[in-house]
């Protein structure tokens, strides 16, 4: 197990290096000139040349690459042209809002998808099952940004049930300690602000969670059905265990294995999805930061954020791999057999 974990970490570090390098080469090799792209549309050649020098693009490629690696290793992702702050600290200030949104979506997914998936599998062929399958196959392909727009239109504008956007009402004053509204309101001892935060959080979180809820429901249903066909389930039934106990203890527990694999991908899906949801709901997280930077051609920010998200993905993937090998001895055995 330890050996496998070390191997996995080593391989992740190698991938991380390739990812960082790939970012560099994609940016340099894609036909087009970053200096021209970043300068205002009517910039004079001399001005573009100044941008080029500022970005270090006038140096030889291998020198640029070396400098770039040094800076990334020192976690220096450059300076935002718009805010004149280091990209990393700008990102750090906005990450809590995005994590709060993604975590809320994740909780909704688990609370909704797993029970429905179990029910659909246990009552296979029932009307509930059919309904679940039909809705999920439509919902899974819905564009997240459009769902967000529709939610605002229907639930916030037409029905007036939810606020139109943002994390809190504009006049609400809350000390920023952790950056998480739900935690900060707790620290400040203001349950009313916490409720207000939840009220703002619900709609964007649901919009973000919807496609995944559909996907997870299908996955949970399929996985549980497969497990329920196993010999040990029949044995458990033959022993005289209650059907409920068999489903929960023998069925669901084993059916969760493939779900763990999806958790890793889910994080990325939530991160990129959050980008779109944040824009529609005026949610002040990483997505909105990147969006704002794109509009003023603040490209160091965009590239820095992309590197961070990609590295996060690599890290999460290896953690999921290790967790899975730890949870399910069969996975570890099959990896060792292959090696």
């Amino acid at each position: 197990m330890l050996r496998f974990s070390l191997q996995r970490v080593a391989s992740a570090l190698l991938t991380a290096f390739v990812v960082v390098s790939a970012t560099f080469f994609i940016v340099r090799l894609v036909p087009g000139d970053p200096a021209t792209a970043m300068a205002p549309p009517n910039a004079r050649p001399a001005q573009i040349e100044r941008v080029r020098q500022y970005l270090g693009l006038d140096r030889p490629l291998h020198e640029q690459y070396g400098l770039y690696l040094q800076r990334v290793a020192a976690l220096d992702l450059g300076t935002s042209i718009r805010t004149n702050q280091p990209v990393l600290s700008d990102l750090a200030a906005r990450v809590p809002a995005s994590i709060e949104l993604a975590a809320a979506a994740f909780v909704l997914e688990v609370l909704v998808a797993i029970p429905i998936g179990i029910l659909a599998a246990v009552r296979r062929g029932s009307r509930l099952d059919l309904l679940t399958r039909l809705t999920s196959s439509t919902v899974v392909g819905l564009p997240v940004f459009w769902v967000s727009l529709m939610f605002i239109w229907i639930f916030a504008f037409l029905l007036g049930l939810f606020p139109l956007g943002g994390r809190l009402d504009l006049q609400t004053d809350l000390d920023n300690v952790t950056g998480f509204v739900l935690i900060d309101s707790l620290i400040a001892g203001r349950p009313d602000i916490m409720l207000e935060g939840l009220h703002h959080l619900f709609l964007p979180a649901l919009a973000l969670a919807l496609p995944s809820i559909a996907f997870w429901t299908r996955l949970m249903r399929g996985s549980l059905l497969e497990v329920l066909g196993e010999d040990y389930v029949r044995t458990a039934r033959a022993k005289g265990l209650k059907w409920r106990t068999v489903v929960m203890r023998h069925g669901v527990r084993n059916a969760m294995n493939p779900m763990v694999t999806v958790f890793g991908f889910e994080l990325v899906a939530l991160l990129t999805g959050a980008l779109l949801v944040e824009i529609v709901f005026a949610w002040p997280g990483v997505g909105n930061y990147i969006f704002g930077s794109l509009q003023v051609r603040d490209y160091p920010v965009v590239q820095g954020s992309v590197i961070i998200v990609a590295l996060l993905y690599v890290a999460v993937n290896s953690i999921v791999d290790i967790a899975q090998a730890r949870l399910d001895p069969r996975v570890l055995a099959s990896i060792q057999a292959r090696a």
Binding site: S137, I290, Y313
Partner: protein, 310 residues
């Protein structure tokens, strides 16, 4: 879905077997008949094809179906609600919304197809080579594929836009690149298992060149999963391109692209909800069409997956 073809139906079964195994000498005719049989036997595929072909047809025939121009600004008719003259109303520049939706079908359907085609052809080629030649080539190529896999398509598109500036073509290229590893992995796995078959060994013994073996003996046998994946990916790419159009990175105004159209009318809940509803419904329809075809094909072509799913 409810219309899943019955495995006991001899027509479906033989058709699936024909496609899965029907490569090799003289099987070309049988394979084509096989696909026809599959389409005839699956209502899911028929429904999906109907949607996809209708959208494509509407897009291609757009100039004959509408008297309006998709880009001509008409300030006398700004934000008109739906009426006999403008069935889906007009947008903030007075352009007929239905006309823009029709021309938008052209952009989305064609671009979705092109994006997937780039990913599938390059990815499949890489996977074929990596799988067939194995060893160092395989290791190196798959490591690069893993790295690309760490970039969700949206991030890759952001990266490309940060160099070249926004536009449909660059975003399409980003989506193409992001899709490559999926096909490369799929193909590599197929090749690794097909390589050990007797007929490949026989062809090698007869002195066939690697190219001949790859194209005549391995590729045709690996087509079924490739076709299924490609169809299912089409919907994803359409949504992806629309998302990028929506945040202003993809198609630029005045191009009538569904996502970009939504972006222009984002704040029109109050004045013109039809501008928000219609492009979204068009995207959903396209996605549902492709996923019906993909699901149907998967049910028919890959009996193993079917049992897992039910």
């Amino acid at each position: 879905m409810s219309s899943t073809p019955d495995i006991h139906d001899p027509d479906t079964t033989s058709a699936a077997v024909a496609v899965l195994t029907g490569a090799g000498a003289g099987a070309g005719g049988r394979r084509i008949r096989g696909i026809g049989a599959i389409i005839r036997s699956s209502r899911t595929i028929q429904a999906g094809l109907l949607i996809v072909l209708t959208l494509l047809g509407l897009g291609l025939l757009a100039p004959f179906l509408t008297p309006y121009s998709p880009t001509q600004i008409d300030l006398a008719n700004v934000l008109r609600p739906p009426s006999p003259a403008h069935l889906v109303g007009t947008d903030e520049l007075g352009r007929d919304q239905l006309t823009r939706l029709l021309y938008g079908a052209r952009v989305s359907m064609v671009m979705g197809f092109v994006g997937v085609l780039i990913a599938a052809s390059v990815g499949a080629a890489i996977g074929l080579i990596a799988g067939y030649f194995a060893g160092i080539v395989d290791d190196a190529v798959m490591r690069v594929m893993d790295a690309i896999l760490a970039f969700p398509a949206l991030l890759l598109a952001l990266l490309v836009v940060s160099v070249v500036g926004p536009g449909l073509v660059q975003v399409l290229i980003a989506f193409g690149i992001a899709g490559i590893p999926f096909y490369a992995r799929l193909m590599r796995t197929m090749v690794l298992s097909l390589r050990t078959r007797e007929y490949v060994a026989a062809a090698e013994a007869l002195g066939a060149s690697p190219l001949r073996i790859i194209f005549l003996h391995i590729l045709p046998n690996a087509m079924a999963p490739l076709i299924i994946t490609t169809t299912l990916a089409m919907g994803l790419v359409i949504v992806g391109l629309a998302s990028l159009g929506f945040i202003g990175l993809g198609a630029q105004p005045p191009t009538p692209e569904w996502g970009a159209m939504l972006s222009g009318s984002q704040s029109r809940f109050f004045t013109a909800p039809w501008l928000l509803l219609s492009p979204g419904l068009a995207i959903v329809l396209a996605v549902v069409g492709y996923s019906l075809v993909g699901d149907g094909l998967r049910d028919a072509l890959d009996p193993r997956l079917r049992y897992l799913r039910v």
